[in-house]
Symmetry: C2
Subunit: 386 residues, 2 copies
């Protein structure tokens, strides 16, 4: 099982390898769990690390379950301290799940992927159930989680309900009778709670496998939408290309290893080339995996034109009547800005060029020469006025 | 309000006196909560300290609620570590409540006393409710409770469900909309949780009043049934008398202060007397409060006869046919022992006298002289054979 060897090589930790072998050799169709946060349904290539592991398990005939944490998603943060976690409606969590699945099936086999919502069992728990659940776990054990420990020891706020969340997540594994749970290394503690609780509920404990977190385009923080350092699975091929070119040289090899299916030998070969070429290769792999590889050469050409300060050949044309027009009005008219206010901010932010000249005066009148005047916003938005 | 002054003098802590005054002056009928553990329904004079405070509030027109913790009583200890806390059935908790009320109304006005069972609201809580409840409390705050802190810091087992119990007890105050909660000083932490939670549920916080714990007859540990160092409200008048005589001299004044209604002046006057007389006075007060004071002189007389090694005048007579009988058979026949084995153990334990002579031979044949032979077990069980 060559595929399995690749998974095992990529994994940071496996609890335990012996149990994994045993489960895989049992001939049983295994249930592989991946937890998903419905408040963050946008997937990026950081997520693809575990998704591609799941795909391997699917290829081996096992069942993948996306566990959508809709229950906690619908509660939000009852302490009101975490403003980034508003309560979602039932509809929002369903919509999230759909969005999630649509992106994930760019990698996974849709027919072998199940969606489960934990509200199905968590909303039915009574206080008696919860006392029984919490009685199986000591305070000392839950406080081993680094962030809990640090906040507690440093006198930072830590509400009691937060201690319940890992247990709920662990109880999801009990409810699903998960055989294997997969996640990033930042989830190790939570995944192990599930493993331990299953023992208390007389189930065979799930195997826990953790995988490295992909660093973001800043080369520092882990890739995440909120830090805007990500390459999204739903990004346009052009955006994927452009963002790939921004990957810091010193982490590009890691991107190849974690976010593509290339072999180590092939990666080494690419990395020996010119660094720019290596970035092109990475972009090519991404577009091949998630979009249409036939588009690649066109995208590359367009990218190179823009990068050299040129204007791409094939750009959108918009017809307007005016021969002379205020620059802000022009930006609104051609749809670059939604309002004059926004147009002003774009100009002040040094984002607007006309005929390759930076524009900084918000009151400037522009003379339109039909078929010639080209308005540019940022690096790759162009419109020709006709 | 002289009565209120007495209460305030007896209280160890009041949170807060200003709020207490305000509530009492509001003219509202207040709800006074006392928590009761249905697994320990036997009341002793240690409990009478708070019961007599409640009586005062009843006299002032307020409503007393006995909160029977049947919900946790029925769960028992799900971790299975605490063997002294088996799960009770619904019937047992109702029976406990009845027993509790029967004893408590030796002090309280039955018509102004309400019983509430916390299963009524706790069994209806969902996980969402519990997350909301626990989100209002920090881990740091709950870990301030001494026993939690000590066990956590010393690596002793502390299960997560134990942290939920004070919150549940506190939630009882929310559900009852309690105005005042009363308890022993060992309950201070838990009572304050209720006070704090009420604020979070937009209720006026309950006033918390704590009272001293009465020391047991050993003069060391707090009075409790499990330590067998108690004077029970349901003890016979004779037992109350006899146990009163065993109160260590150095704590007798405290017994007067906490367990009787006598004024400080009166107590001081008594304590200046002979110490034995003071014990008699205490016994008299107890019998006056809980039994029939008319019995007091007879009990005292009987006690003195026994204490001086004599035999009381008025003792039970039992007729038997035998003229000669084995001592063990005799003990079974007159009902002192349930079996010969038990009879043997009583003799070996030096508990049995016949005609004031200690009997130590389990095979001895006793010659019965009808109307004369007196069998004695322990200090105060006598039977005359006729």
């Amino acid at each position: 099982m060559k595929e399995l060897e690749i998974i095992k090589r990529k994994a940071v930790q496996i609890f335990s390898e012996e149990e994994l072998e045993k489960k895989l050799n049992s001939g049983k169709k295994l249930i592989i769990k991946l937890g998903a946060d419905p408040s963050r349904p946008d997937l990026h290539i950081g997520h693809s690390v575990v998704l591609r592991v799941l795909k391997t398990f699917q290829n081996m005939g096992h069942e993948v379950v996306f566990l959508i944490g809709d229950f906690t998603g619908m509660i939000g943060d009852p302490s009101g301290k975490n403003k980034t976690r508003p309560a979602l409606t039932w509809e929002q969590t369903r919509k999230s799940a759909e969005t999630y699945l649509n992106q994930a099936t760019k990698i996974l086999d849709k027919n072998k992927t199940k969606i489960a919502f934990n509200s199905e069992w968590l909303s039915k728990l009574t206080l008696e159930d919860i006392i029984s659940l919490t009685s199986k776990y000591t305070v000392a054990r839950i406080m081993e989680r680094d962030d809990f420990k640090n906040r507690f020891e440093n006198g930072l706020p830590l509400s009691m309900h937060e201690l319940l969340y890992p247990l709920m997540q662990g109880y999801d594994s009990v409810a699903l009778k998960a055989d294997i749970e997969i996640g990033g290394t930042d989830q190790t503690f939570n995944l192990l709670v599930g493993r331990e609780l299953q023992k208390d509920y007389n189930q065979e404990p799930q195997v826990v496998m953790t995988f490295p977190l992909l660093v973001g385009l800043d080369g520092k923080e882990k890739m995440s939408k909120s830090l805007d350092n990500y390459i999204g699975l739903n990004d346009t091929p052009f955006d994927k290309f452009e963002k790939s070119m921004k990957i810091p040289d010193n982490v590009l090899k890691q991107y190849f290893e974690l976010a593509t299916d290339l072999t180590i030998e092939k990666i080494n070969e690419i990395m020996y080339k010119d660094m720019r070429e290596a970035h092109f290769e990475f972009a090519k792999e991404l577009i091949k995996m998630y979009d249409d590889i036939n588009e690649f050469e066109d995208i590359k050409k367009r990218y190179l034109e823009i990068a050299s300060g040129g204007i791409p050949e094939d750009i959108l044309e918009i017809e307007i009547d005016e021969k002379e027009i205020n620059i802000c009005e022009l930006l609104v008219k051609i749809g670059f800005a939604n309002s004059k206010g926004e147009a002003k901010r774009m100009i002040i932010g040094n984002g607007v060029k006309i005929d390759s000249k930076l524009k900084q005066d918000i009151n400037e009148k522009i003379n339109i020469i039909s078929g010639k005047t080209i308005v540019q916003f940022g690096k790759n938005k162009f419109i020709k006025i006709i």
